[in-house]
């Protein structure tokens, strides 16, 4: 009996492999229950955009479904079995390093959502009323890391009156619950990522206000550029998606409007002065390379590839946020194997080191001197759309 099952499974796999490899369908990685972004009924705006792009490429759409949380890319685009793999995700933060991101095609922001009859008008995180009202926020993923505005709320001492809403699969379309809670009066206001807020606000019978949250001085950014994410290494697909996005700009914008996505001003600020920004990034990576090859290479190896003394930092599993990178560099590792560098390196140098290591880890910077690994042995140019994601 067992034997028969195995054979059946093998046949099934073969069949789906054949389907996946027909070279025709555009295989999209998407969340099956996450409106307004995507669902299996293909009602989300990302489903619509996938169709626009696929149409431009002259290919039908097929999906690999997976919950959009930690492990999403690993289990879809980079799945072990080729049959289970997809090649594009529609909504990826610009510079998201597990995929190759296109030029951003929209920019949105976190917003306040509250009933218009509440008698207050929320404009910034510094409004004193925020200390007294119940504020709903989303907790992201299963590790309870918080979205940036929540981080900034706690910086302002606003903690006790904050109510967390999870984004797991307790029910379909988890982003809707927080808006329902605002409408029903269970909470006084919510802080929500714009696209989710816009869609569900428009579906409530109670009039709700929706205002963008500006970042104060020293705050984390609340507005983000969103790109499409293409499987790393598939340059041909990347180029055609990039071109399709440019050609289909009006259709894309129409979809965003239809779904009520609040757009943040000045989308894609890169377009303002790409040369200056690229130059700044190059200089940071170059300075990081210098510092690396004076200090860090002794244990972490030249080109950050590691030695028997310390880990390879270009391994994707070793990727850190700038904050944790800074902490380890300044205070040393918990096991005492790495010393504290706070006396020798300042914050700026550590940030430059971070940029260098991230450029190596993202495989955008080849080994060697950054001033000699570019075209014709000249200066390296940071690829368009790449940023170290500090």
């Amino acid at each position: 009996m067992r034997r028969i099952q195995t054979i059946a499974a093998t046949l099934l796999l073969a069949a789906s492999y054949a389907f996946g490899a027909d070279g025709k369908s555009l295989r999209v990685c998407a969340d099956p229950y996450n409106l307004p972004f995507s669902n299996q009924q293909q009602e989300g705006f990302e489903n619509k955009m996938a169709e626009v792009i696929a149409k431009d490429l002259g290919r039908p759409v097929s999906y690999v479904w997976w919950g959009q949380r930690r492990g999403f890319v690993r289990n879809t685009m980079n799945a072990t079995l080729e049959a289970g793999r997809c090649e594009i995700m529609i909504g990826a933060p610009a510079g998201y390093d597990l995929v190759r991101t296109t030029k951003p095609y929209y920019r949105s922001t976190y917003v306040f959502v509250y009933r218009k009859d509440k008698g207050f008008h929320l404009k910034t995180l510094d409004d004193p009323i925020l200390k007294t009202i119940r504020i709903g926020v989303h907790l992201l993923g299963d590790d309870y890391s918080n979205p940036p505005p929540v981080h900034e709320l706690s910086k302002r001492g606003i903690v006790k009156n904050v109510v967390g809403f999870d984004t797991f699969y307790s029910e379909a379309n988890p982003p809707s619950a927080i808006i329902d809670a605002v409408a029903s009066g269970k909470i006084d206001a919510a802080i929500v990522w714009g696209p989710a807020a816009g869609y569900f606000v428009g579906r409530q019978r109670v009039p709700l206000a929706m205002t963008p949250i500006p970042s104060g001085p020293g705050d984390l950014p609340f507005a983000f550029d969103i790109s499409m994410g293409v499987k790393r290494g598939d340059d041909a697909l990347f180029d055609s998606v990039q071109k399709a996005l440019e050609r289909r700009r009006s259709e894309i914008t129409a979809i965003l409007t239809a779904y009520g996505v609040p757009l943040a001003g000045a989308a894609a600020p890169q377009s303002q002065a790409p040369a200056a920004k690229s130059q700044e990034l190059y200089q940071s990576v170059y300075n990081g390379w210098k510092t690396w090859h004076v200090y860090c290479y002794r244990c972490h190896g030249t080109n950050a590839v590691g030695t028997t003394l310390a880990p390879n930092l270009i391994d994707p599993n070793e990727k850190m946020t700038l904050l944790s990178f800074k902490t380890v560099v300044k205070t040393g590792s918990a096991d005492g194997q790495m010393q504290a560098w706070d006396k020798l390196l300042d914050d700026k140098q550590i940030a430059q080191l971070f940029d260098y290591v991230r450029a190596r880890a993202d495989k955008v910077l080849p080994p060697g001197r950054p001033d000699e690994v570019g075209p014709k042995g000249g200066l390296w140019t940071p690829p368009a759309g790449w940023s170290p994601q500090r």
Binding site: T291, Y297, R298, T302, V305, L309, L344
Partner: protein, 587 residues
């Protein structure tokens, strides 16, 4: 001073005297300062053979006619696989072999077949000292005097051993590796004092030389390269530094030591100033990069001559001082010859420090010449490095026109045999902060082969004209020392592992043998208890040039190993790690 060991007195002497009579060694005008007494040529009791550092032996049983028949007599594995610099010593019927870290000493009994181990000394050192060594965990050998073997260990311990038993007689710590201090150099015994240097120029260590009592280890004096006159034993340092930069100003003393008994002067060179980024240390940075002549009784300096003021290239000036008497411009002079890392061959009057000649012995473009009146280089502004740019194609490289590999001088040909490097570099300073025990390098350096592509050349140099007489190009750098003999054969090893014998007069190749690993050590010659002349050399790739193989670093990044991998990424194609003594004789 030293008692003759029984076998020499009883067995060897008559035959050897007969053999040596053919070579007019001691009588040769312009011979080395230390008298080459015939009996002494049977042994090899100092790293560079004698106080004058000539690495010349009066032995001539092996000569230009018969060297082609030379065969391996026996071999010995040291059990250590890092770079083997320096040379074994032969005292009486015992050979003393040293190793890189962990700095083992073996006494081998030459009177028995196959030279079995008489005793083995294995010091215990903290392995944390390994990464503090700048350029491999090398050691340049032992010193011998009055029945004692002296050794400097990587963790800065100086130890005296009973030469008969290997028992520790005393030991002292010269520094603290946690502050970046290490020792790789060989000690030198002068009268009742053992002289030791210090390494750590890459850690901002302030260089010094120490004299310890040979019988007790008690420190007699210590003199620094930088700082106040009282601590340097010579004026003029402190005012050439900004603020208190001299406290971390380098000028370490990790090279060789020579001595002139008639003038009672000890000679050695001080190394690069710290850090390697010149922008951080305005001024001449005295007395880094300096030839010192000191009174070994008091440590006070008779004179000091700075070769590379305000170094911008890491031309670490520690190479050996060869004390020879030759005619310069028709006048007999007592000179000190120094083939510096910066590519110039300096000839000085060793009594006064007067600069007699300075000429490039390899491709040099950082300076056009040395002004003999002021002693200062005429620098090429295009090759002055800084932290604001990557200065390209500077010759020679930081690894030097010559590195630690000692030269030899033959009083018969009056030529100095110089193992040289043909390397250039790109150099970029980096602003660095000082923290005790942390690297204070402050530059990114990539070395690459110089014009012609050969990375080394073995050169015969005429000190009286300060000109090259002949040269033998080598594929890799010449990182091993030279040996000259009265048989008019000159020996040297290569990084591929060849030990080569060439004609001292013409450079004609006479013989070669490929040893198990690359040679960065120095060949010696001696007479065994069987009255035969032997030639011995340590092989074991490593050192700065061979660090890639020794420490198993790949060649993906040319800046690795302080820039060595740029020039020597391919060494592993020729030679693997090793640690073997190979001893040769005529059949």
């Amino acid at each position: 001073m030293r008692r003759l060991s029984p076998f020499l007195a009883v067995l060897g002497l008559p035959l050897l005297l007969a053999a040596c009579d053919k070579a007019p060694v001691a009588e040769a005008p312009g011979g080395p300062v230390a008298t080459a007494a015939k009996a002494e040529d049977k042994e090899w009791t100092m790293q560079n053979k004698n106080y004058a550092s000539t690495r010349y032996s009066g032995l001539d049983s092996i000569n230009t006619d018969n060297v082609k028949n030379m065969k391996v007599a026996w071999t010995f594995s040291t059990g250590v696989l890092r770079g083997h610099e320096g040379a074994p010593l032969v005292v009486g019927s015992t050979m003393y072999v040293h190793t890189p870290f962990p700095n083992i000493v073996y006494a081998l009994d030459l009177s028995k077949e196959g030279a079995p181990v008489k005793w083995k000394y294995s010091p215990k050192q903290d392995p944390k000292v390994i990464p503090v060594a700048c350029c491999d965990t090398v050691n340049r050998g032992l010193a011998y005097a009055n029945g004692k073997i002296f050794q400097n260990q990587l963790d800065t311990t100086t130890v005296a051993l009973d030469a008969e038993t290997g028992k520790e007689l005393w030991k002292v710590k010269q520094g603290d590796y946690k502050q970046g201090q290490t020792i790789t150099s060989a000690p030198l015994v002068i009268k009742d004092k053992v002289i030791s240097g210090i390494s750590g120029g890459e850690f901002g260590v302030r260089g010094f030389v120490t004299a310890n009592d040979v019988n007790t280890g008690k420190q007699v004096w210590r003199m620094y390269s930088t700082g106040p006159e009282a601590e340097v034993g010579f004026p003029g340092s402190e005012e050439t530094w900004k603020g208190d930069e001299w406290k971390r100003g380098g000028g370490t003393t990790w090279g060789w030591y020579s001595y002139d008994p008639d003038l009672n002067l000890l000679y050695y060179g001080s190394g690069n100033p710290g850090s390697w980024n010149p922008d951080q240390r305005p001024g001449d940075n005295k007395w880094s990069m300096t030839i010192f002549a000191r009174n070994p009784d008091t440590g006070k300096a008779a004179w000091a001559y700075q070769k590379t003021p305000h170094d911008r290239w890491d031309y670490d000036g520690i190479n050996e001082m060869v004390l020879v008497d030759v005619d310069i411009k028709g006048q007999p002079r007592k000179i000190l010859a120094n083939f510096d890392r910066n590519g110039f061959a300096y000839m000085l009057d060793r009594k006064t420090g007067e600069l007699l000649a300075a000429d490039p012995f390899v491709t040099v473009n950082w300076a056009t010449s040395i002004d003999l009146k002021t002693g200062k280089p005429i620098e090429n502004p295009e090759k002055q490095t800084s932290s604001s740019k990557n200065t390209k194609d500077i010759c020679p490289s930081a690894m030097g026109g010559k590195n630690q590999q000692p030269v030899a001088f033959s009083p018969r040909t009056k030529l100095i045999y110089v193992p040289t490097n043909n390397l250039c570099m790109d150099y970029e300073g980096v602003q660095v902060k000082y923290q005790a025990g942390q690297p204070y390098v402050g530059a990114i350096v990539v070395s690459h082969p110089g014009p012609g592509g050969n990375r080394g050349e073995f050169v015969a140099w005429d000190p009286s004209t300060n000109k090259k007489v002949w040269g033998i190009k080598e594929g890799l750098a010449n990182w091993g020392g030279a040996l000259a003999t009265a048989g008019d054969v000159v020996f040297y090893g290569t990084m591929e592992g060849w030990l080569k014998a060439v004609n001292a007069k013409t450079g004609e190749p006479l013989w070669k043998f490929k040893t198990p690993s690359g040679i960065i050590g120095n060949p010696i010659t001696y007479v065994g208890p069987d009255n035969k002349q032997y030639v011995a050399v340590l092989s074991g790739i490593g050192g700065w040039s061979g660090i890639g193989v020794a420490a198993e670093i790949g060649a993906e990044d040319p800046t690795a190993g302080l820039g060595a991998l740029g020039a020597f990424g391919d060494v592993s194609n020729f030679s693997n790690q090793g640690g073997v003594l190979t001893v040769f004789a005529l059949p």
